[in-house]
């Protein structure tokens, strides 16, 4: 019998359906802070038996990595971590043809589906660490090894939304940022209005340098999850609008809690 798990990530209500009791139970534990009971579902992810005979044959080579999206007349076919799947044109309904994929694959798939869904609805998932300090949301953006986890570990009493993936989406006219439950760490289901964005680089000194809107939009765009050429223009527009709403900085930093927050507070005081 099919099992349904309902979750709420960034106010997007998602249902994940699977025949695997074990998988559903694992997901329920992983998403404990994100469980929902609403029937007002926006995004459906259906994990089914692997009958892919009806899918058009596609050639995948090693260079394509773990993810590839193909545009079809009635939606998209995708390749994801060794499995095939289908997504409808509005990115509201996904089918993954797999018996019992690992929980990691399903969590990554949830990120992919959410990323595609948000790309049509003024939202984006960023490789970032989100920290809330006295109701001010700070987004620290950077690739792997750029220092997101270091910044999170130096947050002190401030609230960390995530040290890996942050969702920014427009809600009721304002941008809000949310923690995305990702593979590495699970933080609570929190949110805040972003106040400023910092593009991270570990260095031997502290330096905050103001960026133009175009510079910051490109940096934000290049740090999004799951690049997708079909939506790139739309996502760039969103990045420009986000970066035009708040100051953005290149942040060279040393792992010193006092120095980091002193400099951030100084520059935010000067710009407000």
């Amino acid at each position: 019998m099919v099992k349904n798990l309902k979750i709420n990530i960034a106010e997007v209500y998602i249902v994940i359906s699977s025949y695997s009791d074990h998988l559903c139970e694992q997901l329920r534990r992983q998403y404990a802070d994100f469980l929902s009971s609403t029937d007002n579902i926006a995004l459906k992810i259906d994990i089914r038996h692997p009958d892919v005979s009806h899918l058009e044959r596609r050639q995948i080579d090693d260079l394509d990595g773990n993810y590839k999206l193909f545009r079809e007349d009635d939606g998209y076919t995708f390749w994801f971590h060794g499995y095939w799947g289908k997504i409808d044109l509005s990115f509201e309904s996904t089918v993954l043809f797999a018996d019992s994929p690992s929980i990691t694959v399903v969590k990554l798939l949830t990120g992919l589906c959410l990323s595609l869904y948000l790309s049509l609805r003024e939202g984006i998932i960023i490789h970032g660490c989100g920290i809330v300090d006295d109701k001010r949301g700070y987004l620290f953006v950077g690739e792997s090894e750029s220092g997101k986890s270091t910044i999170a570990s130096l947050a002190g009493q401030r609230t960390v939304l995530s040290d890996e993936a942050i969702i920014i989406r427009k809600q009721s006219g304002n941008f809000k940022m949310y923690g995305m439950p990702w593979v590495k760490g699970i933080f609570g289901n929190g949110t805040a209005e972003p106040d400023s964005i910092f593009f991270l680089r570990k260095d031997s000194h502290m330096e905050l340098k103001s960026l133009t809107n175009a510079q910051s939009a490109i940096k934000l765009l290049s740090n999004r999850f799951y690049s997708n050429k079909y939506m790139m223009e739309k996502v760039l527009e969103l990045c420009v609008r986000i970066c035009s709403k708040m100051p953005c900085y290149d942040m060279h930093f040393v792992p010193d809690k006092e120095l980091i927050w002193r400099d951030i507070n100084e520059i935010r005081t000067l710009s407000s």
């Binding site: 133009t212 809107n213 175009a214 510079q215 939009a217 490109i218 765009l221 290049s222 690049s227 050429k229 790139m232 223009e233 760039l236 527009e237 420009v240 035009s244």
Partner: protein, 88 residues
């Protein structure tokens, strides 16, 4: 590239202005590039109808630079775009 060449943008890209700068989106290669004010002017003229010479003359008039310098800058910019596969 010769001065008589008329550069033209490839199909699979988009571009937009943001304040005084421009952003080129190279959808095929999943990359974005930033343009300054002068580069935007050059980029706009790369429509297949203007040669490097024509573009340089325009830059000469608009920004009051010597023709020699304008030609050098336009050639350099077009060369970079060509290397990145953004123009033919």
């Amino acid at each position: 590239m010769k001065y008589e060449h008329c550069p033209v943008k490839i199909d699979e890209l988009a571009w937009r202005k943001v304040d005084d700068e421009g952003i080129i989106l190279d959808m095929a290669n999943d990359q974005a590039h930033i343009l300054n004010e002068v580069a935007i002017e050059m980029w706009n003229l790369m429509d297949g109808n203007n040669s490097i010479q024509d573009i340089s003359e325009n830059i000469c008039k608009e920004y009051e630079v010597e023709m020699e310098q304008a030609l050098k800058d336009t050639m350099e910019f077009a060369g970079k775009l060509f290397e990145k596969g953004l123009i033919h």
